[in-house]
């Protein structure tokens, strides 16, 4: 692909297809690598084997029910989806969310960011071939998972956000707050230990330095988003523009090189920032109720909402008709990062190609929600 996103007419020697089942991939995707002497000259990443059609299922459901269905879009950023979906309804119905509920939502979101980043680092280490790092990171992540289970009742889908606030079971009492504090201390200590060990490891550094490098210009051209964009040096974080994050002080982390090393370090350095936000939220947690139930359902036009999730910008939009949800659209960050993943592969060794894909933190469970229309009047077995 050239700088104008046009497919070049270069002659390719060999194609090595990988997937949709692959040990380096957590999720199903098809990666075609066009190689010459094990160096990737071009790549094509295709999704579309995950026929869930969640937006289609949501169509016509009561809004509360549809909101809880958005959580099923993804197992890693489930809270982000339900929160954003609730934000759409709250924006459309002009519902005031109690400050305490906002803070609890932020705590849940940042805990989710922690577990997502730790999962990313663990998966990256696994693809790197460093099983020990991977195992130990999963141990650290376990603390976050237990905190999420404590608050939400589940380890993967907590169902914290509802329209107008958070569920009563997600109320933070003194015991829970103390557990979160202890958890944050433990995670911060362990992550910093890991980072120190990680950066000092010459073998790891030789594997990840300069691999899958993306420049600022490439990142802009390819519509890169999230930490992958910030790893190229562009300081863009939607949390800076979200009113929910206004009370909190945190730094937007950036790196310069845009390679695997920068991406891994991005996540490592974002973890303390998330911990910082959680500590502030706990310290300044407002008193009061956590749910505003004094609102009425009404019809709305199409409402849109963007939030910053662990992988970048998440977009939700729908309209409400007779209390039911219509025209739902979900755009996850990974869909915009697919071009970046393809581009990052180019010039790498085949073994590094999966690492270059993983550096963009793909979440195809989020992204791949194709539906298969069987017995279409014009086309059969059409996938959209």
């Amino acid at each position: 692909m050239d700088n104008n996103n046009k497919i070049t007419t270069q002659v390719i020697e060999t194609e090595v297809p990988m997937g949709t089942v692959h040990s380096a991939a957590l999720e199903p995707y098809r990666l075609r690598l066009f190689v010459e002497d094990e160096i990737v000259r071009d790549a094509e990443l295709t999704i579309g084997v995950n026929h869930r059609g969640i937006e289609r299922i949501m169509e016509g459901l009561p809004v509360e029910k549809a909101n809880s269905l958005t959580e099923k879009v993804c197992g890693i950023c489930s809270n982000s989806h339900i929160w954003n979906s609730c934000l759409v309804a709250e924006k459309g119905l002009e519902i005031d969310v109690p400050p305490r509920a906002e803070y609890i939502r932020i705590i849940m979101e940042e805990l989710e960011r922690l577990h997502s980043h730790l999962l990313y680092l663990a998966h990256g280490s696994e693809v790197l071939g460093h099983e020990t790092f991977s195992m130990r990171l999963f141990y650290i992540r376990e603390t976050v998972m237990e905190l999420l289970r404590m608050i939400g009742g589940n380890r993967v889908q907590y169902g914290a956000s509802i329209i107008g606030g958070v569920r009563p079971r997600c109320e933070l009492n003194e015991m829970r707050i103390q557990k979160i504090k202890e958890g944050m201390d433990y995670i911060e200590e362990k992550v910093l230990e890991f980072a120190d060990r990680f950066i000092r490891d010459p073998m790891v550094m030789s594997r990840i330095s300069g691999i899958g490098a993306i420049t600022k210009a490439d990142a802009r051209r390819l519509a890169t988003t999230g930490p992958t964009l910030r790893a190229t040096g562009i300081e863009v974080d939607l949390r800076r523009d979200m009113e929910q994050y206004e009370p909190f002080e945190f730094d937007v982390i950036t790196q310069d090189t845009g390679d695997v090393k920068a991406n891994l370090l991005m996540r490592v350095l974002e973890i303390p920032e998330s911990i910082k936000i959680i500590r502030q939220a706990i310290k300044d947690l407002p008193e009061g109720k956590i749910t505003n139930r004094s609102w009425e359902m009404q019809d709305t036009g199409i409402i849109r909402s963007y939030i910053e999730v662990p992988r970048g910008k998440l977009y939700h939009s729908y309209k409400i008709e007779d209390g039911r949800l219509r025209n739902s659209i979900i755009r996850t960050p990974s869909i915009t990062n697919i071009n970046t993943m393809e581009f990052a592969c180019i010039g790498t060794h085949i073994t590094d190609a999966q690492l270059a894909v993983v550096q963009c933190d793909p979440c195809f469970t989020c992204t791949d929600r194709a539906i298969q229309i069987v017995d279409h009047p014009f086309r059969k077995n059409r996938i959209i």
Partner: protein, 337 residues
């Protein structure tokens, strides 16, 4: 008549020694992968790990009773035969290391051992080129549709990448091991195992000389490369080629691959004990305990190394092999001095 009886009894004793050594080797080798994974890797990774008997002993038994399906291969019978051929080659290496076999002359020399190890390495090339798993080209996925990139490119199975890597490993990857093997040769001024052992019985183990110590380090790195263990597992790395040559093995054929791996660990440890300590594998010699100790220590050290290493691509592989080979050459020079 007396002489004939003596000869027959000698032959029977030798036969018993050979069979006994093979049985001991097999009995020890089935536990080695378990020791590697349970006692070292799992402990380093702070997890329980598999039962010690699982990787090398219980898993092959389990696989023996699994249903065998026809592998996706242009020559499935040949493909399935390769692990057994590989196992036989490894057994032959051990046979030639035994003192009872030194009457075979040139076959009981370092050249024969190196040759057989090379054949064992070549097996991976055959395995890789004969495996056509569903995980790449055969995946029922609409790749070559309108709008797809480079629809005219030659399509390659991921196992073919393994084959190319196996070829590269044959070409340069196993250099350190073979160079290290020639350190005792240089010191004993002979390629015959019996001369190398005799030299060490007179002058002490090669390992306790400067050249021998350097050679032992080089040998160990070569051993890891030959075992395709992290960080040198590029032939079967999870990041791209997955299990590489072994992808299509199932049932008893997979069991053979497991047994071969354990046996190869023991054989290479025996080779080390023979070349660097002057102790050939022999059931009737207490020195067999040293061989067993080496066979246990090698996977332990290997597991420690691999637990703290990422997989090397050729960018890291070439310099490591080059540096190790240079170290081996220095050891040979030191041996001549």
């Amino acid at each position: 008549m007396q002489i004939v009886d003596t000869d027959i009894s000698m032959i029977l004793i030798s036969l018993a020694a050979v069979i006994g050594t093979l049985i001991v080797a097999f009995a020890v080798s089935v536990w080695l992968p378990g020791i590697e994974r349970k006692f070292v890797q799992a402990r380093i990774q702070q997890r329980v790990g598999p039962p010690i008997s699982s990787p090398g002993f219980m898993a092959p038994i389990k696989f023996f009773f699994k249903q065998a399906m026809t592998p996706n291969s242009p020559m499935p019978q040949l493909y399935n035969a390769l692990p057994l051929i590989s196992l036989i080659i490894v057994v032959f290496i051990l046979l030639f290391l035994m003192p009872q076999m030194y009457f075979l002359g040139a076959l009981a020399s370092i050249i024969a051992v190196v040759g057989l190890l090379k054949v064992e390495e070549i097996m991976y090339m055959f395995m890789g080129s004969l495996s056509k798993s569903v995980l790449s080209v055969n995946m029922p996925f609409p790749d070559l549709v309108k709008g797809a990139k480079h629809v005219d490119a030659t399509r390659s199975f991921i196992e073919e990448i393994s084959t190319l890597r196996a070829f590269r490993l044959i070409a340069f990857g196993s250099f350190p091991l073979y160079i290290a093997l020639f350190v005792p040769v240089a010191m004993a001024r002979s390629i015959y195992l019996k001369d190398i052992i005799a030299f060490q019985q007179l002058n002490g183990p090669v390992l306790f000389t400067v050249a021998g110590a350097i050679g032992a380090i080089v040998y160990f790195i070569g051993f890891m490369i030959l075992m395709n263990e992290y960080p040198f597992a590029i032939m079967k790395t999870k990041a791209d080629v997955m299990e590489g040559p072994y992808l299509e093995y199932m049932s008893k054929y997979r069991a053979y691959t497991y047994i071969t791996r354990g046996f190869l660990i023991f054989v290479l440890a025996s080779l080390f004990a023979t070349m660097f300590l002057g102790i050939p594998p022999n059931i009737f010699n207490p020195g067999i305990l040293v061989t067993i100790a080496v066979a246990i220590l090698f996977p332990v050290f290997m597991a420690v190394m691999s637990a703290f290493s990422p997989i090397f691509t050729f960018r890291q592989f070439y310099p490591v092999v080059a540096a190790t080979s240079i170290l081996g050459v220095l050891a040979i020079v030191a041996a001549f001095l």
